[in-house]
């Protein structure tokens, strides 16, 4: 019955006062959240010596400072390097864990699941202190590999949760079909299962990358002289107030956005192979 059917929200009618309130509220929240992000763009192109808004004039000088400073560049490459290793390790390990948790039939599976997702719940600082204690004993503080390990464990929950969710909805009959048609278990997973959960794998890898590339606390504890990009930014803000950090932020935002777009492009939906 047409009479009973609800109108689409706000279609063809003046919004009610409640709706206006909602729109205003949402806009305010949005502006409040986005403002720091937006402000950083003009500041990064500032010609001024210090962080000020609005900038008195525009230039690329802070980008030049950043690119020409070996310390900044070293920190950037180090962070990228660590983030890529973390992505690979946590995606591979997390996917294996997800398979074990979703498919496995063994005692203690619940515990494995809890432990794998625990880094999400444990405060990063607590985690960092614990790992610091462990790594100090092993004398691996200050190695970039140490940071990779720390970040990998930290990123594991994202991968386990995302890939696990995808595996739970995957039709096991397909893997059985592949096996029945002559594929080994491994081939069945490689040719049939993985291609179909690819969107989840890509999302998981992306989140793992971001979680490492952005991470400050663990890197601070484990890095020693190996300063990562977030650590360098942190130091920079503490020691000197100048817009290089704004330029770096802008580049970071751009990089993450590009990765996000790539993930969306290649991560969405199963697509034809042939």
């Amino acid at each position: 019955m047409d009479v009973i059917r609800r109108r689409p929200m706000g279609a063809g009618r003046r919004p009610s006062p409640a709706r206006w309130a909602l729109i205003v509220y949402c806009t305010l929240v949005f502006v409040f959240l986005m403002l720091p992000l937006i402000v950083v763009f003009p500041i990064s192109f500032s010609s001024a010596q210090s962080l000020q808004f609005p900038p008195p004039g525009y230039s690329l000088r802070w980008y030049k400072v950043y690119v020409n400073d070996p310390v900044w560049m070293a920190a950037t490459w180090r962070s990228l390097h660590i983030a890529l290793w973390t992505t690979v390790l946590s995606t591979v390990l997390g996917t294996l864990l997800a398979f074990s948790i979703v498919r496995g039939r063994y005692p203690g599976k619940g515990l494995v699941n809890q432990v794998a997702t625990a880094p999400l719940i444990v405060p990063t600082i607590i985690y960092s202190i614990a790992v610091y204690g462990l790594f100090a004993g092993l004398k691996v503080i200050g190695n970039w590999q140490g940071i990779v390990l720390g970040h990998t464990v930290h990123a594991l929950p994202f991968v386990v949760l995302i890939v696990g969710a995808a595996l739970r909805t995957f039709d096991m009959a397909q893997e059985q079909a592949a096996e029945g048609l002559g594929a080994s278990r491994l081939t069945a997973i490689r040719r049939v299962t993985l291609p179909q959960i690819r969107p989840a794998l890509i999302s998981a890898a992306f989140l793992a990358f971001i979680s490492s590339f952005d991470e400050l606390v663990i890197a601070m504890f484990l890095g020693g002289a190996n300063v990562t990009l977030p650590k360098k930014m942190f130091d920079n803000i503490q020691l000197e107030i100048e817009p290089t950090v704004a330029a770096v932020s802008v580049l970071q935002i751009v990089l993450v956005t590009v990765v996000l777009m790539l993930a969306a492009r290649f991560g969405s939906g199963a697509r034809p192979v042939a």
Binding site: D171, A173, Q176, A177, E179, G182, Q196, A270, A274
Partner: protein
């Protein structure tokens, strides 16, 4: 018992293999899914495992396919013992209930998959895929994705994928369940023709007794992990061996009674004080035995006044259901028992109304006994 139906198919392919299950037991905790099943599927025959859900038929299929291992017993395909072989090494083509096509591969890639796994040369793969597509009537569909196909077409692809590598056995797991009635009947006949033409030894699992009767060379009726009866469709329909089979296959009237006498090969069975039935005595049947007397609903005929029959009963019509080509009537007999009869409905024929009194009768040879306990 006549088991000649499969003989014609066997000649079509000399390489065909038979399947043999010996004393297969599979338990899940306290539940016994298969309680020692012995079954032989002859080369080239289509044998149906028919049973209600929970009867063990799915477990049996999994044991044959290799997705479950039996706790006891053995499974042989041709000369090979495949009891513990991995699914990949069994060379069995299977059509899954939901087809399990690979959605990320096109039709040709789906069908080529088992050939690739066997490391066949690409030109040969192309030939075989073309042959399989032609066999299932889907030539020209090789580039389509499974999601672009109708249910019937998806099923054909699944079938093509299951036969393209010349499997020793074809397994069909309720493959027609998702299709609408008309398409289902068409696909059943097509599968049957294909199976005959290729001489494929086929094990078909279903809970649909109508489907089983249409398709099978032989039917194995399963219940609670056991084989209740094995025979041709005609045999099982006409001579159910026990109450379960009588009840599960088709519709039937089952009367509980005691044999009072055996006169010239005819057993007289007292069901109630005013209901005495006559049926062909089974070997070894003795007076005093408790039995079930089974008569199919299409057997009783309407009797005119004064007309006699081996079994004659009178009852009141309590329900009439028109089911297209025939009408089902439910009669309440004076003893309180009910009798279901089904008569063909001819154009211009009359449909009897409720409350009418009818006399019906059937021959002793249209009725037979099943053990009661």
């Amino acid at each position: 018992m006549t088991d000649t139906a499969a003989a014609g198919a066997t000649a079509a392919n000399l390489n065909v293999t038979g399947l043999e299950l010996s004393n297969v037991v599979r338990r899940f905790g306290a539940v016994t899914a298969l309680a020692g099943v012995d079954l032989t599927v002859r080369a080239g025959e289509l044998l149906t495992i028919l049973g209600p859900s929970g009867s063990g038929k799915t477990t049996m299929l999994k044991v044959v396919a290799g997705f479950e291992l039996p706790d006891e017993g053995s499974v042989r395909l041709g000369v090979h013992d495949i009891t513990v072989a991995s699914p990949a090494r069994r060379n069995i083509g299977m059509v899954f209930q939901n087809y399990a096509l690979f959605p990320h591969m096109n039709v040709a890639a789906n069908i080529a998959f088992p050939l690739e796994m066997r490391r066949m040369a690409p030109p040969m793969i192309a030939d075989k895929v073309a042959w399989a597509l032609q066999t299932v009537g889907l030539t020209g569909y090789d580039r389509r994705m499974p999601s672009q196909l109708s249910g019937g077409q998806q099923q054909r692809v699944a079938l093509a994928r299951a036969i393209v590598f010349d499997p020793g056995l074809l397994l069909l797991d309720e493959p027609f369940g998702a299709l609408d009635r008309k398409l289902r009947e068409q696909m059943q006949l097509e599968v049957k023709r294909l199976q005959r033409r290729l001489g494929l030894t086929t094990l078909f699992v279903t809970h649909d007794q109508e489907e089983a009767l249409v398709l099978s060379d032989r039917i194995a009726v399963m219940n609670e992990g056991r084989l209740e009866q094995l025979g041709t469709p005609q045999d099982i329909y006409a001579h159910p061996r026990n109450r379960f089979v009588a009840d599960f296959i088709g519709e039937s009237n089952l009367f509980h009674g005691r044999v009072t006498a055996i006169e010239g090969g005819i057993a007289v069975v007292a069901v109630a004080s005013d209901l005495v039935l006559r049926l062909v005595a089974m070997a070894g049947m003795r007076a005093g035995a408790e039995i079930g007397a089974v008569v199919r609903p299409e057997r009783p005929r309407r009797l005119g006044s004064g007309e006699a029959a081996d079994n004659a009963v009178e009852g009141e019509l309590v329900e009439a259901v028109y089911v297209g080509e025939s009408i089902k009537y439910r009669l309440r007999l004076s003893s309180g028992a009910e009798l279901l009869v089904r008569w063909p409905f001819r154009a211009g024929g009359e449909m009897l109304g409720g409350g009418a009194r009818l006399r019906v009768g059937w021959d002793a040879r249209d009725m037979h006994a099943v053990p009661w306990s």
